[in-house]
C-alpha cells in the first residue's frame, strides 16, 4: 500500500489557523495559529503539547472534520475532504467513538464495507485484527459492554482495517493497561518499520519518546519546538555507563579512573531500578504462562499479516533476526542490563555498549598509560537516567555482543 512514488509529503500544513467563533461570529478562541509543519513518508511523527494546545484541533483539520480559518492542509497532496485520500488514512480518535449497539465483528465489517474491501478479504482482515488486538473471544459482544481499554483496542482495529498508509493516532494509549499500552507502542514501531506514516498526538511524553522519530511541541496553538527526538533529548554534556553489578572496589577504581583521565566529577553511582512497566509485563507474562483465567483481553499482540510490509533489503533480514533476538533477551533482563536497540527505532534508556567497551579497554591500560590527550566527550554517570547517546547504535558492536552472549551461554551449558 505504501506508494514510493509519492513525491509529496504525507501531511503538509501551511500557515494553518483555526479560530473558533461564537453564535454572533465574534472571535472567541484561536486554537491553532500559523501552524506550519510537514510529516514525511514513513516517519513516526509526534504531536506533543499540554491540554488545549491545539493538537486535536490540528488533527481534526487534517481529517477534514474541521475547516481551517486560514492556511492550507494537504494530505498526500490533496485536500483532506477529498474522498480518495481517505482511502489511505486510518484514524484513532482520543476516545473510542464507536456504535455501542454493534459488536466488534459488526463494527469492523461496517468500516470494511465502507472501504469496499471484498467480502472474503474483509473477513480475513477482521479475524486477524481481532486476534491482533486480543478480542477474538469477545467479538460478538456489543461494544457498549466493553471496558474502556477493550473499546480502545477495537478502535485501533478499525483504524487498521484498510491497511492505511497514514495512521493518525490521537492519545492512543489512553485507557489502556500497561500491557495494552506497550503493545500499541510496539505496534506503532512495527508499523513504522513497515513503512507506514504515523502521526501520534499525546501528552504522555514517554509514549512519544518511545516511538517517535520526530516531534513537534505545541503550545497555545503554535509550534514551540520541532525536530528529531534524539537530537532534542540528547544531553551532550553527560555520559551514562550501565554495567552488571560491580563491587565497591571496582566502582572506586572506575570512579578514580574517570577523575584521573577526564578530570570530571562522577555525579551519581547506584543500582539502576527496573522500569515499573517492565516489572508489570513480566508478572503478567508469567500469569499467562500459568494459564490463569481472565474475562478480559487475552494475549494477542501479533501484527496482522495483511498490514503491508516493505520488502527487506538484502542482508537486512539477518540483522533484523539478530536484533529481534537481542530485543527478546533485553526484555527478559532488567531494563538497565539490555544494551541492544532496534534500527530505525529511537533508543530506549539503555546505554551505548561501545562506550562501555571503550572505557573498559581504556581502564585496563590505564595504570601504565598517561592521561589521554585533551578531554574526551563529556562523561558522567547516571545509571537510570533518560539521557541518550547522540549516535545511533553500532550494528557491529551489537552483533559482537550478541555473539559473545551466545558463546558464553554455550560455555555455561557445557
Amino acid at each position: 500500500m505504501v506508494s514510493h512514488t509519492d513525491s509529496k509529503p504525507a501531511i503538509e500544513l501551511i500557515g494553518l489557523t483555526k479560530i473558533f467563533r461564537d453564535f454572533w461570529m465574534r472571535q472567541r478562541v484561536v486554537a491553532v495559529r500559523e501552524l506550519t509543519l510537514t510529516v514525511r513518508h514513513g516517519e513516526i511523527f509526534g504531536l506533543l503539547g499540554p491540554n488545549g494546545s491545539g493538537k486535536t484541533t490540528t488533527i481534526k483539520m487534517i481529517l477534514g472534520l474541521l475547516y481551517p480559518s486560514r492556511g492550507r492542509v494537504w494530505v498526500y497532496g490533496k485536500q483532506p475532504t477529498d474522498v480518495q485520500v481517505k482511502h489511505r488514512i486510518g484514524f484513532l480518535p482520543e476516545e473510542t467513538y464507536l456504535y455501542r449497539f454493534l459488536n466488534a465483528y459488526e463494527t469492523l465489517d461496517y468500516y470494511g464495507r465502507i472501504f469496499k474491501i471484498a467480502r472474503r478479504e474483509r473477513h480475513r482482515r477482521i479475524e486477524m485484527l481481532l486476534e491482533m488486538v486480543g478480542l477474538a473471544a469477545g467479538a460478538r459482544r456489543p461494544i457498549g459492554e466493553y471496558s474502556k481499554g477493550m473499546a480502545r483496542r477495537i478502535g485501533l482495529a478499525q483504524a487498521l482495517i484498510n491497511d492505511p498508509d497514514l495512521l493518525i493516532l490521537d492519545e492512543p494509549t489512553t485507557g489502556m493497561d500497561p500491557i495494552g499500552s506497550r503493545q500499541i507502542k510496539d505496534l506503532i514501531v512495527e508499523l513504522g518499520r513497515r513503512g507506514k506514516t504515523i502521526m501520534l498526538s499525546s501528552h504522555l511524553l514517554a509514549d512519544v519518546e518511545d516511538v517517535c522519530h520526530r516531534v513537534s511541541i505545541l503550545y497555545g496553538g503554535k509550534v514551540r519546538a520541532e525536530g528529531d527526538v534524539r537530537q532534542l533529548l540528547a544531553r551532550q554534556e553527560m555520559t551514562q555507563i550501565v554495567a552488571e553489578r560491580l563491587d565497591e572496589q571496582t566502582v572506586r577504581a572506575v570512579t578514580g579512573l574517570i577523575e584521573r583521565m577526564e578530570h570530571k566529577k562522577v555525579l551519581q553511582v547506584g543500582n539502576p531500578s527496573d522500569k515499573l512497566e517492565s516489572l508489570f509485563l513480566r508478572i503478567v507474562e508469567q500469569a499467562r504462562a500459568e494459564r490463569v483465567e481472565t474475562a478480559g483481553v487475552v494475549a494477542g499482540g501479533r501484527i496482522a499479516e495483511f498490514l503491508t510490509a516493505e520488502r527487506p533489503r538484502e542482508g537486512e533480514g539477518l540483522i533484523e533476526q539478530l536484533m529481534d533476538e537481542s530485543e527478546r533477551e533485553a526484555r527478559l533482563m532488567p531494563a538497565g542490563a539490555a544494551s541492544a536497540q532496534e534500527p530505525g527505532r529511537p533508543q530506549d534508556d539503555q546505554p551505548d555498549a561501545a562506550v562501555l567497551e571503550q572505557l573498559v579497554s581504556r581502564g585496563a591500560s590505564n595504570e601504565s598509560e598517561p592521561k589521554a590527550d585533551g578531554p574526551a566527550r563529556g562523561a558522567g554517570v547516571e545509571p537510570a537516567g533518560p539521557a541518550k547517546p547522540a549516535e545511533p547504535a553500532d550494528r557491529s558492536v551489537i552483533d559482537d555482543l550478541v555473539r559473545r552472549a551466545a558463546d558464553e551461554e554455550k560455555s555455561r551449558d557445557a
Binding site: 480518535p93 467513538y97 464507536l98 449497539f101 465502507i114
Partner: protein, 495 residues
C-alpha cells in the same frame, strides 16, 4: 451504492436495537391484533371490517410516524453529538452518501414494518371473509368455483350473514373508482355573469367585497342549489367517464347520503331514482320508501344503464312514490364527499392495500428526510419537535388553511385568536410548503372500498403522491440535508 447500503444496514440495526424503537414496535405488534379481535363497529361484518381497517391504518401511520421521527432524528443527531461521525466521516464515505444511507435505512425499516402491518390486516380480512380464498362472483359467495354453504345458522341468520358478506366483498374489500356528478358549469357560470352584470348595472354590488369574492360566493350558492332537490321536484345528475365501468363490470353502485332541508318524521324520507340515459339506454326506476336520512345507502344497478359513450344519468325524484300528495315538504341535499357518487370496481383489495401502504411509506420517507435534514443542524429534541409539527400540521393542512381563511374574513376573530397580520402569511406559507398528508391519506379510501390509484385524477392518487411528495418535496429536503451536512464542521469545538 455499496456505501449507502452499508450505512443503511447499520441504521436498521441501530433502530432495531434501541429501546424506544422496540417499545413502539411492541405497541404496534400488540395494538393491531387487539384491534382486530376487539372491534365491533356497528355490529355488522362490513362495519367491523371498516372500523378495523380505519383504526389499524391510522394507528399504524401514527406509530410509524413517531418511530420515523425518533429514528431519523436520533440516528444523525446522536451520531454527531456522541462523535461516532468522527470515525465514519473520515472514511472514504462522501457525506451525501452517509445521509442518503441513513435515509434508505429508515425507509427500509418502515418498509419492513409496513409489510408486517399489511400481513396482519390481510390476516384479519381473511377472517372477516369467513375463510381464505372466498370470492364473490355471479351474485354468490364462491370458493374454488363452488357456492359456499353457510351451515349452523337459522335461515334468517344465514341470509343476514350472506348479505353482510356480500356487502363486505362488494363495498369494503374491493377497490372501486368513485365519480361525482358533473354540474352544468357553463350554464352556472353564465348565470353568475348575468347576475354580476345586472348588479353592476343596478349599482347593487355588495359593499366591501370584490368581484372575485362575490363570484366565488355566487358559485358556492349555485353549486349548493345544484345539490339540492326541492320537494315535489326532481333533478338529473349526470356522470361522465364510465366507459370502463360499462366494459368491465356487471354492476355499478350508486351511493348517496341525503341531508334533509328540515327534520323529517323519524328521520325517514321516501323518494325515487330513475337511472339510465333517455333515448340511449333503458331507464329504470327504483322506489325507496322510508329510508333513513343522513345515512349512506347504496343502489346496485346494471352497467348496461350506462350509455356507450360512458354517460350515466341519475335522476332523483323528491316525491313519495306511494303517496305523491303526502310527500313530506323537505328538500333533499346531497352535500359533502358522500352526497352522491357512482362507484365501480377496478381492482382487488390486496393490490389496493399494497398501494395504500406504499402511500404511507411515501409519507414516512418524507418524514425521514425531514428528520435527517433537521438533525444535520439541530439537536435531537429540536429536530423532533420540528418534524412532529410538520407531521401533525401536514395531517390537517386543509382544515388549518380553511380555518385561517375564516380568520382572514373576520378581523375581530383575528385579534381574538392572536393571529397577527405578520404571522398569518407565514403560517399560510408554512402550510403550503409542507405536504398535505390529508390529501394522501389512504385509510378513508380503503375503508370505503375505493381505489388508491396511480391515476393522477383519482383521489387519493399514488402517482401524485409519488411525484409531489416522494420525489419533489422529499428530494428537496434530502438535498438540503446533504448540503447542510457537507458544509458544517462535524467536530465539536474543543480547544
Amino acid at each position: 451504492m455499496r456505501n449507502i447500503w452499508a450505512v443503511a444496514r447499520v441504521t436498521v440495526r441501530e433502530a432495531l436495537r434501541q429501546k424506544a424503537a422496540i417499545a413502539l414496535l411492541l405497541l404496534l405488534g400488540v395494538l393491531l391484533p387487539a384491534l382486530g379481535l376487539s372491534i365491533k363497529g356497528d355490529a355488522t361484518l362490513p362495519g367491523r371490517a371498516q372500523m378495523f381497517l380505519d383504526w389499524s391504518l391510522r394507528s399504524s401511520r401514527l406509530i410509524l410516524g413517531f418511530l420515523t421521527v425518533f429514528v431519523a432524528c436520533g440516528t444523525l443527531a446522536w451520531e454527531l453529538k456522541y462523535r461516532q461521525a468522527y470515525i465514519t466521516l473520515v472514511k472514504p464515505l462522501p457525506r451525501w452518501q452517509f445521509l442518503v444511507g441513513k435515509w434508505v435505512g429508515v425507509g427500509l425499516l418502515n418498509l419492513g414494518l409496513l409489510a408486517c402491518v399489511g400481513a396482519v390486516i390481510e390476516g384479519f380480512t381473511w377472517n372477516f371473509r369467513g375463510r381464505p380464498g372466498l370470492t364473490f362472483a355471479g351474485g354468490h359467495l364462491r370458493w374454488k368455483d363452488e357456492a359456499v354453504p353457510l351451515v349452523g345458522l337459522t335461515e334468517q341468520q344465514r341470509n343476514n350473514e350472506q348479505r353482510e358478506r356480500e356487502i363486505l366483498l362488494r363495498e369494503v374489500l374491493v377497490a372501486r373508482v368513485s365519480l361525482k356528478p358533473v354540474p352544468p358549469m357553463k350554464e352556472i357560470m353564465d348565470e353568475i355573469d348575468r347576475i354580476i352584470e345586472q348588479r353592476k348595472d343596478e349599482g347593487r354590488m355588495p359593499a366591501g367585497q370584490g368581484v372575485r369574492e362575490f363570484r366565488e360566493e355566487l358559485l358556492a350558492g349555485k353549486l349548493r342549489d345544484y345539490a339540492t332537490v326541492a320537494p315535489l321536484s326532481d333533478r338529473a345528475f349526470k356522470f361522465r367517464g364510465l366507459s370502463t365501468a360499462k366494459r368491465s363490470s356487471g354492476f355499478i353502485q350508486i351511493r348517496y347520503c341525503i341531508e334533509p332541508g328540515q327534520s323529517t318524521p323519524n328521520d325517514m324520507m321516501s323518494y325515487a331514482w330513475q337511472i339510465g340515459v333517455p333515448r340511449k339506454t333503458e331507464v329504470r326506476q327504483y322506489d325507496r320508501l322510508n329510508e333513513s336520512v343522513r345515512t349512506v345507502h347504496t343502489l346496485r344497478v346494471p352497467a348496461s344503464l350506462i350509455s356507450d359513450d360512458g354517460e350515466l344519468e341519475v335522476r332523483f325524484i323528491n316525491v313519495n312514490p306511494d303517496n305523491p300528495e303526502g310527500t313530506f315538504p323537505a328538500s333533499a341535499i346531497f352535500a359533502g364527499d358522500k352526497g352522491l357518487e357512482v362507484l365501480y370496481p377496478v381492482d382487488d383489495f390486496e393490490s389496493n392495500l399494497v398501494r395504500a401502504l406504499a402511500m404511507i411509506e411515501l409519507q414516512m420517507l418524507f418524514l425521514a428526510a425531514l428528520g435527517l435534514c433537521a438533525a444535520s443542524f439541530l439537536t435531537f429534541p429540536t429536530a423532533c419537535l420540528l418534524c412532529l409539527l410538520v407531521f401533525f400540521a401536514g395531517s390537517g393542512v386543509s382544515y388549518l388553511l380553511e380555518s385561517i381563511s375564516w380568520t382572514m374574513k373576520d378581523d375581530t376573530a383575528v385579534l381574538a385568536h392572536g393571529v397577527t397580520k405578520v404571522t398569518r402569511p407565514l403560517v399560510v406559507l408554512f402550510l403550503n410548503v409542507i405536504p398535505d398528508f390529508s390529501a394522501y391519506s389512504p385509510s378513508e379510501a380503503l375503508v370505503d372500498g375505493k381505489v388508491v390509484a396511480w391515476n393522477w385524477n383519482i383521489d387519493p392518487s399514488l402517482g401524485r403522491a409519488l411525484v409531489y411528495m416522494g420525489v419533489l418535496r422529499t428530494g428537496l429536503v434530502v438535498l438540503a440535508g446533504c448540503l447542510i451536512l457537507q458544509r458544517r464542521e462535524v467536530a465539536q469545538v474543543i480547544v
